[in-house]
């Protein structure tokens, strides 16, 4: 029936309007839903002022639960495709449109926007430059996810994705609230869905700061590896294998 672009947002009042405007400009045909993950600031009010629908969670539940809300809404409202991008302004909507094109042409069920596979290496100057702990985490996750799925992924924690109804059905039922990005990739591949990475350009965040300190990063990485290991023993569900 159409395309839904949803934007998970937690205390992003500074940037959410700009992101909505960006999506409107580059994806004029898509409906927009902001999923407010229990913000304590004016995120919901800003989004409503911008004239989009807002699904406000009554308390903060984590990114995974917010994304699942988006997938659930897209499934229930009968959208053919959906996509999501971060509310902090890191993800240009023009790139999301390219991801959606892959899904719409049925070349993949789930498409991930990867910041590490730059489309034209010439534009290296404003390329994404990660911090040290981020680089370690990225390579650890990359290694283990590749091992688990036997498919090469470069940007395992990317929050810019596009998906069709098969993915909506899967993610609206099974989506880890703790380790949304990585586990969902593993899950999708294990269910036999076609997952594809597309190189995209990402920007520096417009507002807010990264939550990762070195100690937290170490714990984050450890948890991620455990989650991947456990995920290998999860049963495969029949519903998505159609």
């Amino acid at each position: 029936m159409g395309t839904l672009v949803f934007i998970p947002a937690w205390n992003e009042e500074a940037s959410v309007e700009a992101v909505i405007a960006d999506v409107r400009e580059h994806l004029p045909g898509a409906d927009i839903l902001v999923v407010d993950d229990g913000s304590t600031d004016a995120t919901t009010a800003r989004a409503r002022e911008a004239g989009v629908l807002v699904a406000t969670l009554p308390f903060n539940q984590g990114l995974g639960a917010a994304l699942q809300t988006g997938y659930l809404y897209a499934l229930r409202e009968g959208y053919d495709c959906c996509a999501h991008l971060d509310a902090d302004g890191q993800h240009p909507a023009a790139e999301v449109a390219r991801l959606l094109a892959e899904v719409e042409s049925d070349r993949a069920d789930l498409v991930i926007g990867s910041r590490y596979r730059d489309p034209d290496a010439v534009a290296e100057s404003d390329d994404y430059r990660p911090t040290f702990s981020r680089r370690i985490g990225t390579s650890v996750f990359r290694f283990f996810l590749t091992l688990a799925t036997r498919q090469r992924f470069t940007d395992t924690t990317s929050g810019m994705r596009a998906a069709n109804r098969r993915v909506m059905r899967l993610f609206s039922e099974h989506y880890s609230p703790d380790f949304a990005e990585i586990e969902s990739l593993q899950l999708a591949v294990r269910q036999g869905l076609r997952v594809e990475e597309v190189p995209v350009r990402m920007l520096e965040r417009a507002g807010g700061s990264s939550f990762l300190t070195p100690l937290r990063s170490a714990f984050f990485i450890f948890k991620g590896v455990v989650v991947l290991l456990v995920g290998q023993f999860r049963p495969r569900h029949a519903e998505a294998e159609r």
């Binding site: 409503r48 004239g51 989009v52 699904a55 406000t56 969670l57 009554p58 539940q61 809300t69 659930l72």
Partner: protein
């Protein structure tokens, strides 16, 4: 050293004293009465009380028939009945703690889904009151007219 040798040569087990047994029986009965009272006051659901009743009955059985505990201690290869008792209780508590984690996980998932359903419902309501952008525009034009 000499004590250990003496203990080893003595084939009889270290047993519970009758004082311990009486105390255990009283605690077990008080415990089960507490469970009953909690159910009666709707502070505890029946389905979560079964496991506690079983624990209380086990305690009572151990106090009333010490031969039972000695048999278990023998099976475990433990000479001291008290050690056997502690091990069993520890394992039981471990199982209970795990049981609670499972229940907690299920309830956390249910709470999440409830929150999601409510959020989606809110978004739908907002959509019915006027569809997103068009609602915003019509409201603005109304304000201009006024």
């Amino acid at each position: 050293m000499s004590w250990a040798l003496a203990a080893a040569s003595d084939s009889t087990q270290v047993q519970l004293t009758s004082q311990t047994r009486i105390l255990a029986a009283i605690i077990a009965i008080a415990f089960m009465l507490l469970i009953l009272e909690l159910i009666r006051r709707d502070r505890l659901q029946e389905r979560y009380s079964v496991i506690w009743f079983v624990a209380g009955l086990g305690m009572l059985a151990g106090a009333a028939f010490p031969g039972l505990l000695e048999l278990v201690a023998d099976l475990m290869g433990v000479r001291d009945t008290n050690v056997a008792l502690f091990s069993i209780v520890l394992l039981l508590l471990l199982g209970l703690a795990l049981n609670f984690s499972v229940i907690m996980s299920r309830q956390a998932a249910q709470i999440t889904r409830l929150a999601q359903e409510r959020a989606i419902e809110k978004a739908r309501e907002q959509g019915q009151n006027g569809d997103g952008a068009s609602a915003q525009q019509s409201r603005e034009s109304e304000e201009k007219r006024l």
